[in-house]
C-alpha cells in the first residue's frame, strides 16, 4: 500500500507544514521562537501538574496532547497501530530524564533549535552543533552494535493508555481544576507559560502535526543520524524544509530578529548551549528518536516511547527543582553538573548495551 507521505516530496511537504504551523502558533500567542517546542511544552505540562514550581512555565500545552492523539488516529486509520514494548523501559525512562536536562540547559528541543534559528537567534547554531556532535557519538555506538533489545507485541488495550492519559490532561486544561488551595493545576500568570495561542487552534495544529508526522516518520534526530550513519538525506530534506518555511514565515510575519544577545527565552552561554545539546542528542540516538518522534511513536502504540516521554516530563521536574534548567541569564547553578552526570550515564548505557555479533 503506497504511503504518499513516505516519499521525498511527502516529507518536504510535512516539514513545510510544521514550519508554517509553528510560526503561526507563535503569531497567535505562543512564546517567541517557541511556536512548537516538545521539550519546553512537556516542561510546561510538568509545571502545570506541580512537578516543578517554576511559576513562569506552567501550562497544559494542547499541542502535546494533539501530537499523541493525532498520531494515534492516523496510525489507526492506516492500520499501523501496533502496541509493542518491553525494550529496556527503565533505561529509556532515564534517557528521557537526561534528554530533558540537556534540552533545558540549551532551552529547547531540536524543533525549537530550528525555530530559534529561523527567528534569527544565532545561539541556536551552537545548540545544533552540539546536537550533531551528540548524534555523532551515538552513531559510533550504533555502529558498534548498540541495541536496547527487541520490543514485543503487547495487548491492544495497553497502547490506548498514553493517548487516554493525554486526553485526561486535556480535560484538566478545559476544566482548570484546583485540587488544593494554592495547589495544582497551575497556570502561569506571566512568562512563557502564560503565552499561548487559543486553545482550539493549538489543539487542531497539534492533531494535524501528529497525524502527518506519524505518516511521514518525521524525526529531527533521525535526520542528522541518517546523514552521518548512512549518507541518507531523506529525513534531512524534511528538516531543511521546516527551517526554510519557518524562516520565510518569520520574515513575512515580522518575527525575524537576528543576533546573539537578548534573544527570547535563550542565553548566550555558548559552552553550555553546546554541551546541553550534546547530551540531548546522544540520549535521543540511544532512545531511537527526537522528543517529537517519541510522542508520535507513543501514539501508534510504542509503549517504550511513552516511557521515554514520561521520563522527559519527570526530567523537567528534576531540572527545575534542582536548579539545572537555564534562564535567559545563562546556565543555572547545577546545569553543568546535570549535563556531566547525563553524559556519564549515556556513555555507560552506550558501552554496556552493545551486542556481540
Amino acid at each position: 500500500m503506497a504511503n504518499p507521505f513516505a516519499s521525498r516530496a511527502g516529507i518536504v511537504v510535512v516539514g513545510c507544514a510544521i514550519g508554517i504551523m509553528a510560526t503561526l502558533l507563535q503569531y497567535f500567542g505562543n512564546p517567541p521562537n517557541m511556536g512548537i517546542c516538545v521539550a519546553c511544552f512537556e516542561r510546561d505540562i510538568a509545571g502545570a501538574l506541580g512537578l516543578h514550581r517554576a511559576g513562569v512555565v506552567q501550562y497544559i500545552r494542547p499541542e502535546i496532547v494533539g501530537f499523541v492523539i493525532g498520531a494515534f488516529l492516523a496510525a489507526m486509520l492506516a492500520k499501523e497501530y501496533r502496541p509493542r514494548g518491553g525494550s529496556a523501559p527503565l533505561v529509556r525512562f532515564f534517557l528521557g530524564v537526561f534528554a530533558m536536562i540537556g534540552a533545558l540547559v540549551f532551552l529547547g528541543c531540536p524543533w525549537r533549535a530550528l525555530l530559534r534559528l529561523a527567528g534569527g537567534d544565532w545561539n541556536a547554531l551552537t545548540g545544533l552543533a552540539g546536537l550533531a556532535t551528540g548524534i555523532g557519538v551515538g552513531v559510533l555506538f550504533l555502529k558498534s552494535g548498540y541495541s536496547l533489545g527487541r520490543a514485543h507485541p503487547q495487548k491492544a488495550a495497553s497502547g490506548y493508555l498514553f493517548p487516554v492519559f493525554m486526553a485526561g490532561l486535556f480535560l484538566l486544561l478545559v476544566f482548570q481544576v484546583t485540587f488544593t488551595e494554592g495547589g495544582p493545576i497551575f497556570f502561569s500568570q506571566k512568562g512563557p507559560g502564560s503565552q499561548h495561542a487559543p486553545l482550539l487552534m493549538s489543539l487542531v495544529a497539534g492533531l494535524a502535526v501528529g497525524a502527518i508526522a506519524q505518516r511521514s516518520r518525521f524525526c529531527t534526530m533521525g535526520a542528522l543520524r541518517d546523514v552521518i550513519l548512512l549518507r541518507d538525506f531523506h529525513l534531512m530534506s524534511g528538516v531543511a524544509a521546516l527551517l526554510v518555511a519557518a524562516t520565510v514565515m518569520n520574515l513575512v510575519l515580522g518575527q525575524f530578529n537576528p543576533g546573539f544577545a537578548g534573544q527570547p527565552i535563550a542565553h548566550t552561554d555558548h559552552l553550555w548551549n553546546f554541551l546541553g545539546m550534546v547530551l540531548a542528542g546522544l540520549a535521543f540516538v540511544l532512545a531511537g528518536g527526537c522528543p517529537g518522534r517519541q510522542l508520535f511513536l507513543s501514539g501508534e502504540g510504542d509503549l517504550d516511547a511513552g516511557i521515554f516521554a514520561l521520563g522527559m516530563i519527570a526530567g523537567a521536574g528534576v531540572s527545575h527543582n534542582f536548579s539545572m534548567a537555564s534562564s535567559p541569564a545563562g546556565a543555572a547553578a547545577f546545569g553543568p553538573a546535570g549535563v556531566i552526570t547525563g553524559l556519564v550515564f549515556c556513555l555507560a548505557v552506550g558501552f554496556a548495551m552493545r551486542e556481540r555479533t
Binding site: 504511503n3 513516505a6 492506516a78 499501523e80 501496533r82 509493542r84 525494550s87 550504533l142 555502529k143 541495541s147 536496547l148 527487541r150 520490543a151 514485543h152 507485541p153 516518520r217 533521525g222 543520524r225 541518517d226 550513519l229 548512512l230 541518507d232 531523506h234 531511537g288 528518536g289 517504550d304
Partner: protein
C-alpha cells in the same frame, strides 16, 4: 546459495537498516530481512534502492519478509 536471513523484528529504528547495510557491505548478494512494521519496511527498501539492489516483499503471518538481491 541460500540467502542470508536477518531477523530485525522488534528492533527499533535504525537497527534493521544498520544490520542490512552491514550485511550488504559484508558482501552478501542475497538477503532476507524479516521485519514487523511498516516503518522498517520503508527504511530497508529505501536502503536497498540506494545500493541499487532488486527487492521483493511478501507477508509471512504478521511479519514482513523483504528479499534483496544483487
Amino acid at each position: 546459495m541460500s540467502a542470508t536471513r536477518i531477523d530485525a523484528r522488534g528492533l527499533s529504528c535504525p537497527q534493521p537498516v544498520v544490520l542490512t547495510s552491514k550485511a550488504i557491505e559484508g558482501g552478501a548478494e542475497s538477503l532476507e530481512v524479516l521485519v514487523d512494521n511498516e516503518v522498517s519496511r520503508e527504511n530497508v527498501l529505501r536502503l536497498a534502492k540506494r545500493f541499487t539492489m532488486r527487492t521483493s516483499v511478501r507477508e509471512e503471518g504478521p511479519d514482513i519478509v523483504i528479499e534483496i538481491k544483487k
